[in-house]
Amino acid sequence: MEINVKKKPDLEFRAFYVFFLIASIQIGVGILGVPRIVYLEAEHDGWISILLSYFYIVLVVWTMVYILRQYKNADILGIQVDLFGKWIGKILGTIYLIYFTIGLLSILITYIEVVKVYIFPDMDNYILGGLLLILAIYTVLGGIRIVVGVSFIFFFLTQWVHFLVIQPILNFDILHFQPVLKASFNEIVSGAKSTSYTMMGFELLFFIYPFIQNKQKTNKATQTAIGFSTAKTLVLTVVAVGYFSASQLTRREWPVLDLYKLQTFSFLERFDYVIVAEWMMVVIPNIVILMWLITYSAKRLFQISQKTTLYIIAIILFICTILISDHFFIQKIIDLSSAIGFWIVYVYPFLLLPWVWIKNRSRKRKGNEKHAKA
């Protein structure tokens, strides 16, 4: 396996699009439930937790970019092989692959569940699951350029949703946040940890890095994306805590949807229907990006053609969506996904760093020796 990725130059995209890729994969179904999850851990000091996790993620991204910059044009799959050898490297790569598949499954079934709860209680899972997977196949067949395009366009198609927060902001109660720092440090940290499922997704950078045209701007684009997602999460959490009372907030599975539906117009009531449907446009980039990642990683690791993986994974996911409809089982999958993700996304880059250092040093030494001999 080549450590550096060789690809056609017309597959490259500008670092500008990295912002949209990362921003759209971070914001998915997770954000719908974030205010409640954080509130359960850190109560009304949840905003501190989110800020805390933001600063942590900034560090993680820095580390990731640092690691990637040690190579000319490599992705994490190549780097792992370089550091740990062929076998361990590939096993670690496979863990990524499995993690993405579980992540994709969790997004898919959560969205289907949301639709079932809010709009069609009697709908069979396979209808929406099948339709979404068909769309994912259709998109991924177009390759990375189309995947980037989808994340870019759908980003703009979904931003109007945030104007709906204005209504709850007008009925905001600042008293809900007092006294500040009521939660203990431990609670705040576990609140930060509970946001991990929502904020995940920037590990994508490890994989798309070779495709970025102007690599020097990668860090800026990624950091902006993370700042944007955090700001979004923060605003929604603060508004939810300020608007809902404690008991209201803890009883709602997806408080964000309830925030959005407060706005009404003379021709439109019940915004939740519109939002739940519109949320499909938030979910589709997620599904598409993950699907592409899976096919791409499988090709890098095992030289399986991307089309084969695409169809096989789609069929597996389709069967899974039919079988899984129990709420608690879905929660278990989300927990599993966030548990694997926590280690892979938030801890692993720091573990990787010393290895990269050691490797670099030995490489330099070898280089020097060669130099001395010559």
């Binding site: 069609f120 259709y138 177009g142 189309i146 009531e269 499909m280 589709i284």
Partner: protein
């Protein structure tokens, strides 16, 4: 006609009787080949052509008369010097003779010479210039292309008077060759685009081309998509507007429709009229067209989804009205909508096929009489009548007829999705549409440019139109050779208040 390789050999000199036999053989059962042999000063001279595609009067007056009145024995050289006709050429191959005869050339052959002489004296029946039928402008030039390629080329030359205007000639069709012209401005148009188009034209292996719209389907990137990827227009005005901005045009003999590539999705909603209007009015009109595209594809599906599944979305006061108008209708909403949509499509189709005067009558009968009757009979509701009429109206605002029909057709899958999955289905349909548009290309250029790949500088030409001092660049998503039209400095001079 291009079958054997032996057609490409020199056949001259040969006996006139042999030549006649050879040609008669090729034009078997064709009484129209006129082959006359004159005896002049002991030399046999043959004049041959196909009678009705040649200006016979010119043949008599300028050619035959001069030939017979001469006193010296004729040679090719003498003929070239003495006959008062332009565009003479020497032809030696049989294939050249056959091709020449078919496009209205007159040949003169003097026995013993090593070449026949040809004169282009074609007579082509054509209609005079008139207004374009499928596209119309309120402001600006109204003349449309005609079926005559020469007339069209003439109009373009008069529109773009530049030595950089290139009109490459190609012949398409193996069995019935037809002349095709590739038109572009060589100092502006992108070279790789020109090469792509050239390659597609030369590699085309078909027996005949019926019309430019057929050729267009052969040349397109994705022939399976519902969206047209090349712009077609009947207006020389619009054609030249596109050419001068670095796009490539294709004209086909005997077709009044020209092809323009590359095209983006947005260029189908563009009209040259936006340029002729004040910039703010032009922008408003353009945004109106985009809005009508959305309206036309989404209005009826939204009605279906709301009435079928989500009546909670509508506020109570509105819902009461809707309920009352639908109370008498026995059908489910999707059936009701399909009936009415079908009615509108029937009206449109019959209006398009019938003569103009009858068409108007049909429009009134269909629209007013059937519409009101349908509501009174309880087949449809009043509200739906408004909705369907509005979306039909909106679909006609696209300046391009092909895009208009596409827009009308996309509505149907949307209606089905809305009827089965409600608003979720509509969003799904829209998403699918966006992905599909993203995947399309037009001679390799992305269809959704400049939205994706994103070009900030191009937005002011696409979504709206800013005043001219902002338009100092060409549409750079097409990567023209010269991106700059005029310097920005001169266009926008900054001045203080009282200067």
């Amino acid at each position: 006609m291009r079958r054997s390789g032996s057609n490409d050999k020199n056949i001259f000199p040969m006996k006139i009787e042999e030549l006649e036999k050879l040609l008669q053989n090729r034009f078997e059962n064709n009484p129209d080949l006129s082959f006359t042999v004159y005896d002049h000063e002991n030399k046999k001279i043959a004049v041959f052509f196909i009678s009705y595609i040649v200006e016979t009067q010119w043949v008599h007056e300028s050619l035959v008369k001069t030939l017979l009145e001469g006193n010296e024995p004729w040679t090719n050289k003498a003929i070239l010097n003495n006959i008062p006709l332009a565009a003479a050429a020497k032809k030696t191959k049989l294939q050249e003779l056959l091709d020449g005869l078919l496009i209205g050339k007159v040949f003169v052959y003097i026995e013993g010479e090593d070449a026949a002489l040809s004169y282009l004296l074609l007579k082509k029946e054509k209609r005079s210039l008139g207004q374009a039928e499928t596209e119309s402008l309120v402001l600006g030039p109204k003349v449309g292309f005609t079926e005559s390629l020469i007339t069209n080329l003439n109009m373009i030359r008069w529109n773009i008077r530049s030595e950089n205007l290139v009109m490459e000639k190609y012949t398409v069709g193996k069995q019935e060759p037809r002349e095709v012209r590739l038109v572009y401005i060589k100092s502006v148009a992108n070279t790789s685009d020109i090469n792509t188009m050239r390659q597609r034209l030369t590699e085309l292996d078909i027996d005949n081309v019926d019309d430019s719209s057929v050729l267009m389907q052969y040349l397109e990137d994705s022939s399976r998509s519902i969206f047209p990827q090349f712009l077609s227009t009947e207006l020389p005005d619009r054609f030249c507007y596109s050419i001068s901005r670095g796009r490539i045009g294709v004209l086909v003999e005997n077709s009044p429709t020209s092809i323009i590539a590359p095209s983006t999705f947005f260029s189908f909603f563009e009209s040259t009229e936006d340029l002729y209007m004040r910039w703010n009015v032009g922008s408003f009109l353009r945004i109106l067209r985009y809005l009508s595209f959305l309206l036309s594809t989404l209005l009826t599906p939204i009605y279906v989804s709301v009435v079928t599944f989500h009546y909670e979305i509508i506020p109570t006061s509105l819902l009461v009205n809707l309920g009352q108008s639908r109370a008498a209708v026995p059908f489910p909403p999707i059936l009701e909508v399909l009936i009415l949509e079908l009615l509108i499509e029937l009206l449109r189709e019959s209006g398009a096929r019938l003569p103009t005067k009858v068409g108007q009558t049909i429009g009134i009968v269909g629209g007013v009489v059937i519409g009101t009757a349908a509501v009174e009979a309880g087949i449809t509701s009043n509200v739906l009548l408004i909705v369907v009429a509005l979306s039909a109206l909106a679909s006609f605002t696209a300046p391009n007829y092909l895009m208009g029909t596409t827009v009308r057709l996309i509505r149907f899958p949307m209606i089905f999705l809305a009827g089965t999955l409600g608003i979720v289905g509509i969003v799904y349909g829209m998403s699918f549409l966006v992905v599909h548009l993203l995947k399309l290309t037009s001679i390799g250029r992305p269809y959704l440019a400049p939205i994706y790949p994103f070009r900030w500088e191009d937005l002011n030409k696409v979504i709206f139109r800013l005043p001219n001092d902002f338009q100092n660049k060409r549409f750079i998503s097409y990567r023209p050779k010269k991106a700059i039209r005029y310097s920005k400095k001169d266009a926008r001079k900054r001045r203080d208040i009282d200067e």
